[in-house]
């Protein structure tokens, strides 16, 4: 599938934003971080900015962005509509929670409830995003049980990396948040590795024989294409990434997305002051690069069944 910049930017950016929002909601509601108004403002404003910029970016790839509001109407059947509804709903408890934390310096009672609700809605939004891909049967690399857990875990992971950075900025030390960052980085790394292994060893059921209704024994090859130059289908769904490039990008993603942030996040637990801050900044910067590469591969390596009609041996 064509790795569109707007969708890669949207899923990584808003994924991290929702991850941070959810963790602020949970840790704030649990009273595990101080209700410092500046920390609350910085964290929530950053989380909601990431989410909003991401959502805005996702409308850039629409043919008719001015009609985007219509995408909220079909939540009964469409995961894309559900994602839109969840995204809009999340702003309400998130805004209330922010009001409590920043204005009233209070994250307890009803404010805490708002925080927990914001966290749940944030996770449901990320889950809906993942379900958009998970539900597409023509794309084997997405239509499997690894897609949704990967999206949700990577969102929590990028949120935790950001949350670690946030508390370091305000000189707060919290072993639970730092521990969660290390654990989610390790789990995310493991899960994504298993996702890649799954896609290496499996492929979708359809073959070119079943695609053209010829199930008699015989090797089917393209004799002539219907058109002389690439059409919409080939441009949108025929994207191919060379295996050697994919392997290199995967190594980059392993290293910058997971391994190095894991080392730096772990290291930050054992040092203090500016060294700790430098460690979490490095962890965040590297992780962001790694996750963008991971997301690029998620799209670039996805093979749509329509390619069977254009000479692909499998999908």
């Amino acid at each position: 599938m064509h790795p569109a910049f707007s969708v890669i930017f949207f899923t990584t950016c808003s994924g991290a934003g929702y991850g941070l929002l959810a963790l602020m909601g949970i840790f704030g509601a649990a009273g595990m971080v101080p209700a410092d108004p500046w920390m609350g403002f910085t964290g929530l404003a950053f989380a909601l900015s990431l989410v909003s910029i991401g959502l805005l970016a996702s409308t850039f790839h629409l043919g008719r962005p001015e009609r985007a509001w219509r995408a909220l109407t079909q939540w009964r059947s469409s995961w894309l509509a559900r994602e839109g509804v969840m995204a809009v709903l999340t702003y309400i408890p998130a805004g209330l929670f922010g009001l409590g934390w920043v204005w009233f310096e209070d994250t307890t009672g009803l404010w805490a409830v708002a925080g927990v609700v914001a966290a749940i809605l944030a996770w449901l939004t990320v889950m809906s995003t993942a379900m958009i891909y998970r539900s597409l049967k023509p794309i084997h690399q997405w239509h499997n049980d690894w897609t949704v857990p990967s999206y949700v875990l990577l969102s929590v992971m990028s949120g935790a990396v950001l949350m670690s950075l946030l508390i370091q900025l305000f000189g707060v030390s919290n072993p639970y948040i730092q521990g969660l960052t290390v654990v989610t980085l390790a789990l995310g790394w493991g899960l994504k590795t298993m996702y890649w292994k799954f896609n290496e060893r499996t492929s979708g059921l359809p073959t070119v024989n079943s695609a053209i209704g010829i199930d008699a024994a015989g090797d089917v090859s393209v004799l002539e294409l219907p058109h002389t130059s690439a059409n919409y289908l080939m441009k949108e769904m025929g994207f191919k990434v060379a295996q050697k490039h994919a392997d290199k990008l995967r190594r980059i993603s392993h290293l910058t997305g997971f391994a190095l942030p894991l080392v730096f996040s772990l290291g930050a637990m054992f040092v203090e002051g500016y060294s700790a801050l430098a460690f979490v900044v490095l962890a965040w910067a590297l992780c962001s690069i790694g996750i963008i590469v991971e997301r690029w591969l998620f799209f670039a390596e996805a093979k749509h069944t329509v390619n069977l009609y254009y000479g692909a041996s499998g999908a």
Binding site: A71, K137, S210, A211, I212, G213, I214
Partner: protein
């Protein structure tokens, strides 16, 4: 609503005979011609006379070669268009309600006034039936010539999809696949019509008739395996002798 109807009164669709299709692209051409002025008009062309022409077509004719071991290779000309699936997931993924499946005849359509051009429906279609109109920013697809088949301004025999009417070899058939007595249903039963990619569970309405078994040996057509030399006698024998010298 983008939820699918549980039942459609008719299942209008096409039956395409891969045995008789010669891959002439007349169906694709006439489809383009009719539909660029029809329900989803216009079907844009980008750079039509340049080196890399592009544009929206509802019907594309592929040609494949099947290698069958020691038997001769088989050429399959394969017209590809919307199959108006019973389980049309291009409809259920639509976030706006622009895509819908009609209860009365099962035809899958796009309301281009509601489409936001998110392209998700084209991702959800395994068959590549939907093509994006970059000029208008909306998705377009085969309408089964909705503006022909119910068009009372046309003679009854012309109330068929443009691709069916134009096919010079009669490889395309239009009708109600919900009615077991219809010509298309009977043709499908007699020729073991196939669903495309049945493993994905989209339950396409359109059926494809596989090629009939080819007569490969001379015995199959009743001819002798080898020609036996004629032994002529009399005048012809004498002539043969003279000329053979």
């Amino acid at each position: 609503m983008t939820s699918l109807p549980t039942h459609t009164h008719k299942k209008l669709g096409l039956v395409i005979d891969l045995d008789t299709c010669v891959g002439c692209h007349a169906c694709a051409t006439n489809c383009k011609e009719w539909n660029t002025g029809g329900h989803s008009a216009p079907l844009p062309d980008v750079n039509p006379y340049g080196a890399e022409p592009d544009g929206v077509w509802f019907n594309r004719v592929h040609s494949f070669e099947v290698q069958r071991g020691d038997r001769p290779n088989l050429t399959i000309n394969f017209p590809r268009s919307c199959l108006h699936c019973e389980n049309a997931e291009c409809v259920t993924v639509c976030p706006t309600g622009a895509s819908y499946k009609r209860v009365e005849d099962g035809i899958v359509l796009v309301n281009t006034d509601k489409c936001i051009g998110c392209k998700l429906c084209s991702w959800a279609c395994p068959y590549g039936a939907r093509e994006f109109d970059a000029d208008e920013g909306v998705m377009k697809k085969c309408t089964l010539c909705i503006d022909r088949i119910y068009n009372e301004n046309l003679d009854p025999e012309d109330r068929q999809p443009a691709c069916v009417l134009t096919c010079p070899t009669g490889a395309r058939h239009f009708g109600d696949l919900n009615d077991p007595e219809s010509r298309v249903s009977q043709l499908t039963a007699a020729r073991h019509g196939r669903d495309l990619m049945p493993e994905l569970g989209y339950k396409p309405t359109n059926k494809y008739l596989p090629p009939r078994a080819r007569k490969v040996d001379s015995l199959d057509v009743g001819a002798p395996e080898e020609l036996v030399p004629i032994v002529a006698d009399g005048f012809l024998g004498w002539l043969d002798n003279i000329l053979s010298k």
